[in-house]
């Protein structure tokens, strides 16, 4: 709470760590409290993953950082209430990587990343050299150099995710919010993106707040995990303390086994709940038929 | 429009249903005279279907006119007493029984509501003619005449249809005499005077191929708009370029947009570049009544008189100065 608000970055690309805290935060949607009295503080420079079943209110909670209003309570950043900040000031403190970013048709990668400089620009007709330098540095850091003139539509999912991340980093904010950053990526790209975020956090002292579905991923990358259910925060702490089979059973209604590794990271394996019977006379195939070879299938003629 | 068109068959069906149910209708209604249409192109010398069967006793007494020109003709031949209702634009002569009926969007039901025995129209819009015929009403379709003989023919047709043959003949003779006298009053010129006839302030005009152009030709005037529609592709109603008009510099300018578009000699002179026009400088801008210059009835004589007077005045001033 004592961290100063970094209107000016400490050094290019590196910012002072900033705390984020919700106090009694509540959001109503259609008469329902989708976020219901959440108290959560995230200390500067740490990584917290918000977990919870669909509809628990995770995305709504992080959206309160991007200007979506609260119906009750407050959210503060670096000790200042978010409600007191202008949209521009807020965008200099918090960068958001949305789950489904809108990809403007025809836009080039460099121009898209440059949009991240918007909160630092005035009514300027062309981007300043400073803005271009920062943008270029971020693009280099995320290995987007080669792509800078390509359009976003022509990129693969993994590349596009890096570009959207680059735009958020170009904002030069101390807080980075990622809403389901790994949803559409294969396992390899999921890990690559999360490892990149981990590196960037270390380089820039970022406070990272992500929503997640994959408990194992959250359990391994986040410093702390916060579990929400029906709009309420039901647990917050180190992954090894929070992600227990009991909590997973209560919250998601599934049986799971958890393994804690030497660094305090948690992996979660979920078991199928019950066998669904097939139609009468048909049992589940447990062994391959003797006639078939398990190697390769002949192409049909 | 579309809706009205779709409704016509329904209305007709209902009307026919009503007729069929009326078993006890008096047998005096002669079926032979109804449902005849007089095409306007038929020259006056040829007797038409309608007039042949009309006898003095059967002269229509409940006429509805949806054509302002026809209304003027009917009153000029003394058939005004037989006219029951006229459309909203038939405001000449003043005693014409103006109603809300429209010749542009004719409503068969509204017309039938007057129980007419003759309906005169200038255009068959939305199949109104067949709708009226289905309702057993005699119609005369008289398209706008294309020349002065056409006007004479329509006057005589209306005379025969309404039992005023003699008056119609007299009117035509009287018009011819006046026109001849007016033409005779025009002095000979080596180079004819030029004119521009304005339909609206967007410089829409007429060529000599139109009815109105023909009247100006009678007065010996040359039309500057002819070059703008040489092949008649614009139907004789081209829109002129302002700079062409300034360059052509007509001797006479006739404004037929004093009512529609509130134009006047003063407003014409105030238009950009128009203060240079000879007609403006010489005061040869004639403000016409929009209606006189667009209704091809008995008042074409009045219109010609205005044109000839202006021409003679301009001609006299021209020879006086040169």
């Amino acid at each position: 709470m004592t961290a100063r608000v970094p209107n000016e970055p400490v050094a290019p690309g590196r910012t002072a760590a900033v705390d984020v805290a919700w106090a009694g935060a509540a959001v109503q949607r259609g008469g329902r409290r989708v976020v219901d009295g959440v108290d959560l503080s995230v200390s500067g420079g740490s990584w917290v993953s918000l977990l919870g079943p669909n509809g628990a209110g995770k995305t709504t909670l992080v959206r309160t950082l991007a200007g979506s209003g609260l119906d009750a309570g407050s959210v503060s950043i670096g000790g200042r209430s978010l409600g007191d900040l202008s949209a521009r000031e807020r965008a200099r403190l918090i960068a958001v990587v949305p789950q489904h970013p809108v990809i403007p048709p025809g836009i080039a990668v460099f121009d898209y990343v440059l949009l991240g400089r918007a909160p630092h620009q005035g009514l300027r007709f062309a981007a300043s050299e400073e803005d271009r330098r920062r943008t270029h540095a971020v693009a280099q850091r995320l290995d987007l150099d080669e792509l800078s003139t390509r359009t976003l539509e022509s990129l693969s999912g993994g590349e596009r995710q890096r570009v959207v991340l680059a735009r958020a980093l170009a904002q030069d904010t101390p807080v980075l919010v990622l809403d389901e950053p790994t949803t559409f990526l294969d396992v390899g790209h999921q890990l690559a993106v999360l490892e990149l975020i981990a590196e960037l956090r270390a380089e820039r002292s970022l406070t990272v707040i992500t929503t997640m579905h994959d408990l194992s991923v959250a359990g391994q990358f986040a410093d702390t995990v916060a579990v929400m259910s029906a709009g309420r925060l039901i647990a917050h702490g180190r992954p090894a303390q929070v992600l227990t089979p009991e909590l997973i059973e209560t919250c998601w209604g599934v049986a799971a086994t958890t393994t804690v590794d030497g660094h305090g990271g948690v992996t979660v394996a979920v078991q199928r709940r019950r066998e669904v019977p097939l139609w009468p006379g048909r049992a589940r195939v447990t062994e391959p038929p003797e006639s078939s070879t398990p190697t390769t299938l002949e192409p049909t003629r | 429009m579309l809706r009205a068109r779709k409704l016509v068959p329904v209305i007709v069906a209902i009307a026919m249903l009503g007729a069929a149910c009326g078993d006890d209708a008096p047998e005096t209604t002669p079926q032979t005279t109804s449902s005849a249409t007089v095409p306007s192109e038929v020259p006056s010398t040829e007797p038409t279907q309608t007039t042949e069967t009309v006898e003095t006793a059967d002269v229509p007494q409940r006429i509805v006119s949806l054509s302002p020109s026809a209304t003027e003709m009917l009153f000029a031949i003394g058939a005004g007493d037989q006219v029951l209702a006229v459309d909203a634009f038939s405001y000449f002569p003043p005693e014409a029984p103006v109603t809300e009926l429209s010749g542009f969007q004719p409503n068969v039901e509204a017309i039938v509501g007057y129980d007419p025995d003759l309906v005169v129209l200038s255009d068959d819009i939305d199949d109104v003619v067949s709708g009226l015929q289905a309702a057993g009403i005699t119609t005369m379709l008289m398209n706008a005449p294309v020349d002065i003989p056409g006007t004479y023919a329509q006057i005589e047709q209306l005379g025969e249809a309404t039992g005023h043959t003699a008056e119609a003949t007299d009117l035509v003779e009287q018009m011819q005499t006046t026109i001849d006298r007016l033409i005779a009053s025009i002095p000979e010129r080596e180079t004819p005077l030029t004119y521009y006839h304005e339909l609206d302030d967007q410089l829409y005009s007429v060529t000599s191929k139109t009815f109105i152009g023909e009247i100006y030709a009678l007065a010996g005037l040359t039309n500057v708009a002819d070059a703008a529609d040489p092949d008649g592709a614009a139907g004789g109603y081209p829109q002129l370029s302002a700079e062409y008009l300034v360059d052509a510099d007509p001797d006479l300018i006739f404004l037929a947009d004093t009512v529609c578009c509130a134009q006047s000699a003063a407003s014409l002179a105030a238009r950009p570049g128009f203060d240079q026009l000879s007609a403006v400088k010489a005061g040869n801008v004639i403000e016409l009544d929009d209606d006189i210059a667009s209704r091809w009835g008995p008042r074409i004589v009045d219109f010609l008189e205005t044109v000839v007077a202006a021409t003679n005045a301009a001609s006299a001033a021209d020879t006086g100065t040169s």
Binding site: D111 | D200, V246, P272, G273
Partner: protein, 358 residues
């Protein structure tokens, strides 16, 4: 321009520029506009030697006094008829295309044009009411029709804006479009009703709706100029905001923008310009829809290029089509809206095809 950055190997590399208004395109746009103006002054149904036209224009400059050798009526043609018409074409075409580009940007919809929120319908109703009521008949000096059209257009946009945006979370671009469509339909219905009730003015109403530059003088240029300046300045300053708005309201907000306010300012300026253009020229279609698309095809999607170049190429396009309008069937005029579609549609299809092949 010559900014450099250092890459990972410590080598100096050129810093990427990002999309900006390319000098080449800017020069091209200005050249197109100027070329169109010069052609517009030279060509017309009355042939006047180009050299003398230029001398005549020089003569009009302060201090300079040259005898162009033109007759009085030719001088009137050049200065009172052609010159204002060409300038008006430049302004109207530029405003329609520029505000069309702004509308497309704000709504992130390629089918948007300046008439989307009811400007055409509102102006049409305003003009029709002024024509049929004969307001100002005989006043002579102030023509009430453009004034009524201007007011009608602004009332329509304001109505659509108020109905389509509510305080709270529902003020999205699509509700605004729907409100605009509803307002436009309603006003068109009223306009048609009024027009049918006054069949005697039908011709004048139609003539107004068709659009024209044909009878314009310096008066119209004077009416339009202040709104043109306001529109051009505001839209040119909004290019960066429009680029940010391309990522949608939520993300634009997270980038420090207030999307609803940007939309209000940009739509306000674009509507003001388009309404003023429509007020003096009637409903000239196609320019506001097609020119921004062509510019985008040629230069890319950034509003830093699309907005200023739409102004320039839109103006040039309308001046050129107006030359066709008054020369193709000289000395008769063709309705300019017919020509914008007749020339514009095939040209646009060509650009589309070339774009999809590339």
């Amino acid at each position: 321009m010559g900014a450099v950055a250092v890459d990972e190997q410590g080598l100096r590399v050129a810093l990427p520029r990002g999309t900006r208004l390319e000098t080449g395109w800017l020069v091209g746009g200005i050249a197109a506009a100027l070329g169109a103006v010069v052609l517009g002054l030279w060509l017309g149904p009355v042939s006047i030697p180009p050299g003398r036209v230029m001398l005549e224009l020089l003569d009009r400059l302060p201090v300079i006094d040259i005898d162009s050798g033109l007759s009085v009526s030719d001088r009137a043609i050049v200065w009172d008829l052609r010159a204002p018409r060409v300038v008006l074409g430049l302004l109207v075409g530029g405003l329609l295309a520029g505000s069309g580009a702004a509308y497309q940007g704000v709504f992130r919809n390629p089918l948007a044009d300046p008439y989307l929120l009811g400007i055409a319908a509102g102006a049409g109703l305003g003009a029709t009411l002024a024509i049929v009521s004969g307001v100002g008949d005989g006043i002579g000096v102030v023509d009430p029709v453009p004034l009524a059209a201007f007011v009608g257009a602004l009332v329509a946009v304001a109505a659509a804006g108020m109905l389509g945006t509510r305080r709270g979370r529902s003020g999205t671009a699509s509700t605004l479009i729907l409100a605009g469509v509803a307002v436009a339909s309603f006003l068109t219905a009223v306009q048609t009703y009024v027009q049918q009730r006054h069949a005697e003015s039908l011709r004048q109403v139609y003539s107004w709706l068709l659009g024209r530059l044909s009878t314009s003088g310096w008066g119209e240029v004077g009416l339009l100029a202040p709104y043109a300046v306001a529109c051009v300045v505001v839209l040119t300053l909004s290019v960066g905001a429009l680029d940010v708005l391309a990522v949608g309201d939520d993300e634009a907000a997270s980038l420090g923008m207030r999307p609803r306010r940007v939309r209000l300012v940009v739509l306000g300026a674009a509507s003001l310009g388009a309404a003023a253009a429509v007020a003096v020229s009637g409903l000239i279609g196609f320019v506001g829809l097609i020119v921004p698309h062509v510019v985008r095809r040629l230069t890319g999607v950034s509003h830093r290029q699309v907005i200023p170049l739409s102004f320039l190429f839109g103006g040039a396009f309308l001046v050129l089509t107006d030359i066709a309008a008054r020369t193709v069937q000289a000395p008769a005029e063709l309705p300019i809206g017919v020509i914008t579609a007749f020339i514009g549609a095939p040209f646009f299809l060509l650009i589309l095809r070339r774009g999809s092949e590339a």
